[in-house]
Symmetry: C2
Subunit: 368 residues, 2 copies
């Protein structure tokens, strides 16, 4: 494939790690990266090393949805790019080193009040845009994508969102994306994303899928202090809380919850979009999919092995369970950013032949 020029909206953990991973991949050139205060852009390719060095630990924080995907999580929930009117109450800034807040600390960046619009204005030169945005409100990513479509962007959009309910909002806009010439791959991180794809592939032995069980383990390499936002977001998945009530918790209350769990929090039946994405691909009913996992806030090591189990019935009447297992040594950062860029590359291939619309990871797998 020819060189793919892409932009990253959001320079939090996921955005920055994606830039880093792309340096180790062939044919991927990051040309723009922004956060809510600034934009770095160079159509010949960003100097990623400089950008990362300048912005590491130097970003503004925001209480919002992050992806499980990033267990380096040096700075999470900090990728807020927000020049829309949907900006929620700001969170606590976790780290503010250097002179600028966020990407403007890089010598390649300039401050801007309208970072997303600035990227849209340059989008004719982009093959793909990774929306590494915290989903500040549920319609934040759909509405951002809509703005690209309305501006006539012809290219790829990829997000790494998690919540099931957002997926429908994207599919509702499918026609708009098709008209513009956009190939949108949604939920393309670790889960949903990597593991959704694995489930779709593992289903190929079967003519009927009965059960998909996605189970993840995440260790927090960088500890609790660097991961307040993520821990907050995860707590929103606990039965006793939801996004709103988790947002209201004070830092002290969150620490108390973590302490109650001795730092190890188990999540069952999470609202992760693997379910609707597998249903849309015709593989099983959303109700047949369960997502859960264990977050260890105090240790580097994963508290449990990330596993996908797909149980089904074969054409010849047998019942079995195929299994996909990630090595505990693979960080969730690796498991978010590799697949996000992998799906992005697939989407660019599709986009170049005129294959437009909204796709989930499972749609990019062999048909079921």
């Amino acid at each position: 494939m020819d060189d793919v020029k892409f932009a990253v909206l959001g320079t939090g953990g996921i955005g920055r790690r994606t830039l880093e991973v792309s340096q180790q991949k062939d044919g991927l050139t990051p040309v723009a990266a922004c956060d809510r205060n600034g934009l770095a852009i160079d159509h010949d390719g960003l100097d990623v090393a400089e950008l990362l060095a300048a912005t590491e630990g130097n970003v503004a924080s925001e209480r919002a949805e992050d992806d499980h995907g990033d267990d380096t999580r040096t700075v999470d929930n900090t990728s807020a790019v927000d020049d829309s009117d949907t900006r929620p109450d700001g969170g606590t800034a976790v780290k503010q080193h250097g002179e600028g807040a966020g990407v403007v600390a890089s010598e390649q960046a300039r401050p801007t009040e309208t970072p997303i619009q600035d990227v849209i204005d340059e989008s004719a030169a982009l093959d793909a845009v990774l929306l590494a945005l915290p989903n500040l409100t549920h319609d934040f990513i759909p509405r951002t994508a809509e703005r690209f479509a309305e501006a006539g962007y012809e290219g790829v959009l990829v997000d790494v969102l998690k919540r099931s309910r957002v997926i429908g909002m994207l599919y509702e806009r499918a026609e708009l994306f098709e008209e513009s010439g956009i190939t949108f791959v949604c939920g393309a991180g670790a889960t949903p994303g990597f593991l959704t794809g694995a489930a779709a592939l593992a289903a190929q032995s079967f003519v009927e899928v009965e059960d998909v069980e996605i189970w993840w383990g995440v260790g927090l390499k960088s500890g609790y202090e660097d991961n307040r936002g993520t821990v907050r977001e995860d707590i929103a998945h606990l039965e006793e809380y939801d996004i709103e009530s988790a947002r209201e918790l004070s830092d002290g209350e969150i620490e108390a919850i973590v302490d109650e769990h001795d730092g190890v929090i188990e999540f069952d039946d999470m609202e992760h979009a693997d379910d609707v994405l597998l249903e849309r691909a015709g593989i099983c009913d959303a109700a047949d999919v369960t997502v859960g996992g264990i977050l260890d806030v105090r240790h580097d090591e994963k508290p449990t092995t990330t596993t996908v189990r797909v149980t089904g019935r074969t054409f010849d009447g047998e019942r079995g369970t195929n299994t996909f297992e990630l090595d505990d040594a693979t960080s969730m950062a690796a498991n978010v950013n590799g697949p996000a860029l992998g799906y992005l590359q697939s989407a660019v291939r599709m986009n170049r032949v005129g294959d437009y619309g909204v796709f989930g990871p499972a749609d990019l797998m062999p048909g079921f």
Copy 2:
């Protein structure tokens, strides 16, 4: 996806099982099936139940390459469709029940001297053709595909071939396929195919893949008598033999080899196209891929679990091994025919948007 009308060339184990599996899938309508003596065709859809009932155990045998893919293997190496001049020495007919030899035993079929040409003549009404042919000579599938292209076929071709050396022959013809409007997915059975795709997906955690190990277990549910051809082909993979010398073995000699191994034959470092397909997709060097497995001629159960192990280096400097494992209860028939139809469906999607050329299973996975 709209209904996919497809033909199957070859009604041996793989061809017939594919027809059977397609009955349990949505949106797939088999409209033609042929072997070297006859053709069944109905553009409104074949009566698969009648065809299978009429032809079960009623086919002519041929010594040739079969796919590991079929451990029901009621009749293998019998899918010979051969109206070209490449027909090798005929093998031994294993079973010849019923009045006709092969597909003509079905009331939907008629005898023909030129089954492949007859399908080509009807190909304007086909979305896809599955080449479930034994690769009688190494260029048999490439040359058959060439004939479709020369006739101006616009649609999908899928094969389930195994040998690495055939892949290059297909890619050499890529331009011809592109000009015709053909989307060709090669090596789309179990291995290569299902497991190649799994390796490509498992690689997504890594920025560098060091090692891919594909290991299969096959039990022969239907016993040795029904599987002479497959056992012969497998023996060709043993270090002491090759395709030519295995073809020369008498049935008695083969039985002696099986006896020597107490019915359980282990294969190491097989020439399976997973290697070149993963290399072409940019995932690793062909030399980093090893394929092996164990065939138990005397038991239904798999003698070992089919597993894919992908070892690589993550962007953040870790080394790990991701694993994909098929349940022992999934027959290799399920693991060939499900993926073959899955890749076929993906290829139809690609074909409909004008995405032509030659692709391996790994090319259909997220980019690496």
